[in-house]
């Protein structure tokens, strides 16, 4: 005697419809669990993609050279000797162009100075850099020209200013071609940076850029703060990194006193951290699924005791314990899968709302999270119904039917 699956489905569906309040409550519990997983993981994933995207906008195939060696083991011979690491210089930067795998480089210097024009003044970040910077960082000018291509050690008095600086110093006045003072030097404005150049850390609308050699004079230094190097291809990043280390070691009397960071390494770290975060919030949300599972167990227990007579009757009519278990589990399966689907839709709606409210956040639930949450919902629903189903199967039909 095997039940037809169509009969099982019809009977369970009928049982669910027969107790609408219970069914709806269960569906809501399940749906909340699943939608929590979907929404939270989509949030986590959105944050990850957002950060990844921001880092990518720093530049492609980017390698950053920083003076000084950052050792994980705190003390090294140079600290013992009281040596300070040798600074990076413009010559170092030039030396790095001598590999065919390097597309372009740009040394930078950063400092803070007072910028004045016609009685208006503002303290701001001054970035000394070169013509290549625009391409390396994928910036776009709003107006005018960028720092022209020229020898790195030529200090010309030109400046590219951010939009906000222009608004504050020049107001409605035309800025291009005008002179302004940075510290005690005069510079001519040749370009304006718009909002396209916004990226992590710096808002180019609020800085002033001048040729790197001019910045060295301004801040009275012969060193550079960083050298940005762009490799030709992604595959070239590692060889270029090695080339940089070797070249600078040779130039620095054999000392390995620079730190080379690849953007990939930074990206990978963030990717790992944020990925773990997504797993974590997904896991927390999964707890609500387990709670929903326990709820299913309770409700199925109530359902079994509510329907004692019905189960007793089915037994009298020739249902074996296995039939009863099948029917109860089918009901639980139907309940949890409907709840899971409702939760999935609810979760998708939730992440759509997040995307709508925060357009910068690509909040899409990852496929693995959706799949796992649906699976966990159905499996917990079934697992937690095993006990009520067994109890129903063991039910004594005599007692069940004599209850009046």
């Amino acid at each position: 005697m095997a039940l037809h699956s169509a009969d099982i489905a019809r009977f369970s569906w009928g049982a669910l419809r027969g107790y609408p309040t219970r069914t709806v409550l269960m569906l809501v519990a399940m749906a909340i669990g699943v939608s929590a997983v979907v929404v939270l993981t989509s949030l986590g994933e959105g944050a990850r993609l957002y950060v990844m995207d921001k880092f990518a906008s720093l530049g492609t195939n980017l390698i950053i050279v920083i003076p000084g060696r950052s050792e994980t083991a705190g003390i090294n011979p140079s600290t013992m000797m009281g040596e300070t690491p040798r600074d990076l210089t413009l010559d170092d930067a030039l030396a790095l162009t001598r590999s065919y795998k390097v597309r372009r480089i740009s040394p930078i210097n950063v400092g803070s100075a007072r910028v004045t024009h016609a009685g208006r003044a503002r303290d701001t970040v001054i970035l000394g850099t070169s013509a290549e910077m625009l391409a390396i960082r994928h910036w776009e000018l709003a107006q005018g020209k960028f720092i022209p291509k020229m020898d790195l050690d030529r200090a010309t008095s030109v400046a590219v200013i951010g939009k906000k600086i222009r608004d504050e110093l020049f107001g409605a006045e035309r800025a291009i071609g005008k002179w302004l003072r940075i510290g005690d030097r005069r510079f001519r404005v040749i370009g304006i940076m718009g909002s396209e150049g916004r990226s992590i850390g710096v808002d180019v609308q609020e800085i002033v850029m001048i040729p790197v050699a001019s910045a060295q004079q301004l801040f009275n230094t012969s060193s550079v703060f960083r050298i940005l190097v762009e490799a030709k291809t992604r595959e070239a990043i590692e060889p270029v990194k090695q080339f940089i280390i070797d070249t600078l070691q040779k130039r620095h009397q054999g000392k390995k006193d620079v730190t080379v960071i690849t953007q990939d390494a930074v990206l990978a770290t963030f990717d790992r951290i944020l990925g773990a975060l997504t797993y974590a919030v997904g896991g927390i949300a999964a707890i609500s699924l387990a709670v929903a599972g326990i709820l299913i167990m309770n409700v199925m227990l109530v359902a079994v005791s509510q329907r004692t007579a019905e189960i007793g009757l089915l037994k009298a009519l020739g249902a074996s314990p296995r039939h009863i278990i099948t029917l109860i589990l089918a009901e639980a399966f139907l309940l949890s899968s409907l709840g899971a689907i409702a939760g999935y839709l609810l979760g998708q709606l939730g992440s759509w709302i997040i995307r709508y409210a925060f357009p910068v956040l690509p909040a899409y639930a990852p496929a693995w999270a959706v799949l796992i949450s649906l699976l966990v919902a159905i499996v917990t629903g079934l697992l937690f119904s095993l006990m009520p189903a067994r109890r129903a199967a063991r039910l004594d039909p005599v007692q069940a039917l004599s209850r009046r």
């Binding site: 039940l3 009928g14 089915l314 009519l317 020739g318």
Partner: protein, 235 residues
């Protein structure tokens, strides 16, 4: 057809053992019309449950159609209940959310019968009981008498050899009760073995064979109005 030999059924209540059935030996032939009467607690319902394979005896053997059914597994007993025994209860025990038709269909569904075949059998079972017009009604939309008729249709749709009725008129008014008894008797005339448990003397006396239970024992066994006092343990 039904052979009970030295059936005991004990219940543990606290630290006391209650002998609900105490050495019952009973033979019922195919096609008989038997009533089981007796005061509450006399063991008549326990006997009916045993006959219907809803309960197992503590000791003794039960042979149904020549087969020992006491030692069958749960699954096999379920199959026997499904194929060979029909139940009619005092409380009707219809599933409230299912229509008359669906209620009657239940035992066939449990038997795994194909849908088309089921439909035919259900339709003819309902027709036999004059319920064609009510087949899509739910129990709450039916009168007591109609409900019991649906329950009878459900009990007979599998064409069982034995029909067990536990106070089938207990929840019905006099008129509906009469109808139900007539239907059951007609079924008996067509060959089904009918066993009715009842308090109602008038109804019990309609049966050709009347069993009286007392304190878990078969107290008397009249056939066709002729009293035949039992000598316990001898028959």
């Amino acid at each position: 057809m039904i052979e009970l030999t030295h059936i005991h059924r004990n219940f543990q209540v606290g630290d006391q053992v209650v002998h609900a059935l105490d050495d019952v030996t009973l033979n019922i032939a195919a096609g008989e019309y038997v009533s089981i009467m007796g005061p509450s607690g006399s063991g008549k319902s326990t006997l009916l449950n045993l006959l219907g394979l809803l309960d197992r005896p503590t000791s003794g053997t039960y042979r149904l159609n020549g087969r020992d059914v006491t030692s069958l597994s749960d699954i096999e007993q379920a199959r026997v209940r499904n194929h060979e025994i029909g139940f009619v209860f005092q409380m009707f025990h219809l599933v409230p959310r299912l229509t008359a038709e669906e209620n009657v269909e239940l035992p066939l569904m449990l038997a795994g019968m194909p849908v088309e075949e089921r439909r035919k059998k259900v339709a003819s079972a309902l027709k036999d009981l004059g319920l064609e017009a009510r087949s899509h009604h739910r129990p709450e939309q039916l009168s007591g008498g109609q409900r019991q008729r649906v329950a009878i249709a459900r009990a007979t749709v599998t064409e069982p050899r034995v029909l067990l009725a536990d106070e089938p008129t207990g929840n019905l008014d006099h008129k509906s009760g009469e109808d139900v008894i007539h239907i059951l008797e007609q079924l008996n005339q067509r060959g089904i073995t009918l066993i009715i448990v009842t308090h109602d003397l008038e109804m019990g006396q309609r049966a050709k064979r009347q069993l009286r239970m007392l304190d878990g024992r078969l107290h008397s066994d009249h056939s066709d109005g002729q009293p035949a006092e039992l000598d316990h343990g001898a028959s």
